[in-house]
């Protein structure tokens, strides 16, 4: 009975989280602070009813960036360039929404679509770099990302800068180009619904379509996939393109939401990209689990600020816990092997 329970697929991720939280507690204790206070502050800060609006919007962004990592992960590739893809989407959406003089009803959809196209195209470059030039996707995405971040930073500081402002930011977007809010909520917008829709699409494509199957076969065993006539190059192009498009969508939603402008660094500093990557790894790349694992990293992200305020534990603990969760997940194979070995003996 116990043996059967420990074999349940949820044991590994839940175990990893529990272990990470315990390790985090030890780190807090070593720093001479109180872990119970800290974790209580995290929960209070993120799940407070008055904060839920904001928490939900962050959950949406982390889910989105979770997909950005999860889609290529399905075929065994790592997209670590989420920051660049996110920022490029944000700046594209700003330019389309503010500079083209589009009428109200089309400004937002056009901005979103343009952001998805530009970021998708940008991310897709990594696929031919891998298949034609032999540069692993994990490397090219990482090298391309700071270039995109620098371009956006340049645009927002010079050509698009708000005149007379000391901050590196653009002027506020015209009223027409604000993404629609849900009721009178401040942070949760139609954007959240779009991200949920994208998650549903990914789930359906992954589990019900030929392309999704090919993606998973290639991830499980690339040589077998090639033997069966699958084209890893084209799959990589599609996977990276769609991952980039999702990142662009998230960036566009952030810029078109309150405070309705592109602020240099504001898309990257909350760490959505790596929270999303951690959520994707914790979900084992399974699309249906990403929204669940994203909850954990949302709580850490949003609660981190209040943990810092009330328990005086630095916010960076969130990054520490993300790193620890990922390392534990990687090391879990040891447990699997030991279990498999035990099975053979008996």
């Amino acid at each position: 009975m116990i043996a059967r329970l420990t074999r349940h697929p949820a044991v590994v991720p839940i175990g990893a989280v529990v272990l990470a939280i315990l390790i985090g507690a030890v780190v807090i204790l070593l720093a001479g602070l109180n872990p119970i206070d800290a974790y209580a502050a995290v929960l209070q800060g993120s799940l407070d009813v008055r904060n839920l609006d904001y928490t939900f919007s962050v959950w949406g962004f982390i889910c989105g960036m979770g997909l950005v990592a999860a889609i290529p992960l399905r075929m065994g590739e790592f997209n670590l360039g989420g920051n660049g893809q996110l920022v490029l989407g944000g700046i594209t959406a700003y330019v389309v929404a503010s500079q083209l003089g589009l009428p109200g009803i089309v400004a937002v959809p056009f901005a979103l679509i343009a952001a998805m196209l530009v970021s998708g195209g940008f991310a897709a470059v990594s696929a031919p770099l891998a298949t034609r030039f032999g540069i692993p996707i994990i490397i090219s995405t990482l090298l391309l990302s700071p270039v995109a971040v620098a371009v956006a930073s340049y645009l927002v500081r010079f050509p698009l800068a708000e005149k007379g402002s000391g901050n590196a930011q653009t002027p506020v977007l015209p009223e027409d180009a604000h993404i629609w809010s849900l009721g009178d909520l401040r942070y949760t917008t139609v954007g959240l619904l779009l991200i949920i829709a994208v998650m549903v699409i990914f789930y359906v494509v992954d589990s019900r379509s030929a392309v999704g199957f090919e993606l998973r076969v290639t991830g499980a065993n690339r040589r077998f996939g090639e033997y069966a006539g699958l084209k890893p190059g084209r799959l990589a192009l599609g996977a990276m393109g769609s991952a980039g498009a999702v990142a662009g969508l998230v960036g566009a939603i952030i810029v078109l939401s309150s405070p309705y402008r592109f602020i240099d660094g504001a898309l990257i500093s909350p760490g959505y990209t790596f929270a999303g990557l951690a959520a994707a790894l914790l979900a084992g790349g399974r699309p249906a689990l990403v929204p669940v694992t994203a909850i954990l990293f949302t709580i850490l992200q949003v609660g981190g600020a209040s943990m810092e305020r009330t328990a005086e534990v630095p916010r960076q603990l969130s990054d520490v816990l993300q790193g620890v969760v990922i390392v534990i997940l990687a090391l879990r194979v040891v447990l699997d092997r030991r279990r498999a070995g035990a099975g053979k003996d008996s």
């Binding site: 780190v27 720093a31 001479g32 602070l33 065994g76 590739e77 790592f78 670590l80 770099l129 891998a130 298949t131 034609r132 030039f133 032999g134 540069i135 692993p136 996707i137 994990i138 490397i139 090219s140 990482l142 090298l143 391309l144 700071p146 270039v147 971040v149 620098a150 371009v151 930073s153 340049y154 500081r157 010079f158 690339r222 890893p232 190059g233 990589a236 790596f274 951690a278 790894l281 630095p314 960076q316 603990l317 969130s318 990054d319 520490v320 816990l321 993300q322 790193g323 620890v324 969760v325 990922i326 390392v327 534990i328 997940l329 990687a330 090391l331 879990r332 194979v333 040891v334 092997r337």
Partner: protein, 306 residues
């Protein structure tokens, strides 16, 4: 030759040295068949440990020692996890990179009660080599550098000779090239991979120390800013031939040093920030086109660690 140009050579060396140490670590691991992309996080940890060590002891060399030892210990996670337990080295590396970003930021707050950057008064950096002043060329280039700069080149040459001329080096290459054959000859494959990864950790500690106590005398959050990844790119670029590493790393050093110069004459900082990454990528592409005409599939090298 004017002084201006020699000072530029010196600036190239300064920029290249941290990358050189890290790239040497990555190249040695690659020789042994370990795909090590944890360089970025290890270098960042080394930079922090060096500053902390120097701050508490008042001695820069104690800081360097702390950096080397603690980074070697930190790399045990990757060494044992990937080489002995056969876990995915990429996922471990992503985790340890994030962990060291979080941990250095966390400790900066807890230990030194500051965030962003830490540059206390009286923090000792690694000494320069003023005794070289007056010697033509060598003095111009090296007198203002930390002792670790020539050490980087000495270590590269030593590593290259070790790999080519000694039984240990041969075994290491054998482990990377054909682990099964090596195992048949009674070589402990996992043991070699484990120790070379830990050695790489120590080298990344040196890389970090040079960055935080050699190039400057301070620590800032995420101060490695992608240098570890450029080192990984350098390893891929030279296809694991340690002797070519200095050329690649000096190229990246030149891109950075040139960036500083251009910034000095009014080029936007964003351009110069992005240049080393863009140049690295372009050079990678060109090298692949020119040098290897063979068609390669290099989606993530799954079989690197057999």
């Amino acid at each position: 030759m004017s002084i201006f140009e020699w000072s530029f050579v010196a600036a190239v060396l300064t920029s290249a040295t941290p990358i050189l140490f890290a790239a040497l670590a990555g190249a040695l691991c690659a020789q042994a068949g370990v795909f090590n992309i944890a360089l970025e996080g290890q270098m960042l940890w080394g930079a922090f440990a060096a500053v902390a060590g120097s701050y508490y002891t008042g001695n820069a060399w104690a800081g360097v020692l702390v950096a080397v030892l603690s980074t070697a210990i930190y790399s045990v996670i990757l060494a044992v996890g990937a080489a002995r337990w056969k876990a995915d080295p990429i996922i471990i590396a992503i985790g340890t990179n994030l962990l060291s970003l979080g941990l250095t930021g966390f400790l900066l707050r807890v230990l030194f009660d500051t965030s962003g950057s830490f540059a206390p008064q009286g923090l000792n950096g690694i000494g320069t080599m003023p005794f070289l002043k007056g010697i033509p060329v060598i003095g111009d280039v090296f007198a203002g550098q930390s002792v670790l700069v020539p050490l980087a080149f000495v270590l590269i040459v030593a590593a290259g000779l070790w790999l080519r001329l000694t039984p240990g080096g041969l075994r290491l290459r054998g482990v990377g090239e054909h682990p099964d054959a090596a195992a048949t000859l009674g070589i402990g494959v996992a043991r070699y991979q484990t120790w070379v990864t830990i050695l790489g950790g120590g080298l990344c500690g040196l890389a970090g120390a040079q960055l935080s106590l050699g190039n400057v005398t301070l620590f800032t959050e995420n101060m490695t800013a992608g240098r570890g990844w450029i080192a990984v790119a350098a390893v891929i670029l030279v296809a694991n031939k340690a002797f070519w590493l200095p050329v690649a790393c000096l190229g990246f050093g030149a891109a950075e040093a040139l960036g500083f110069r251009l910034q000095g004459i009014g080029a936007p900082q964003q351009l110069t920030d992005a240049a080393p990454y863009a140049i690295t990528l372009v050079v990678l592409v060109i090298m692949r086109v020119v040098v290897t005409r063979r068609r390669t599939h290099a989606l993530t090298p799954k079989e690197t660690l057999v």
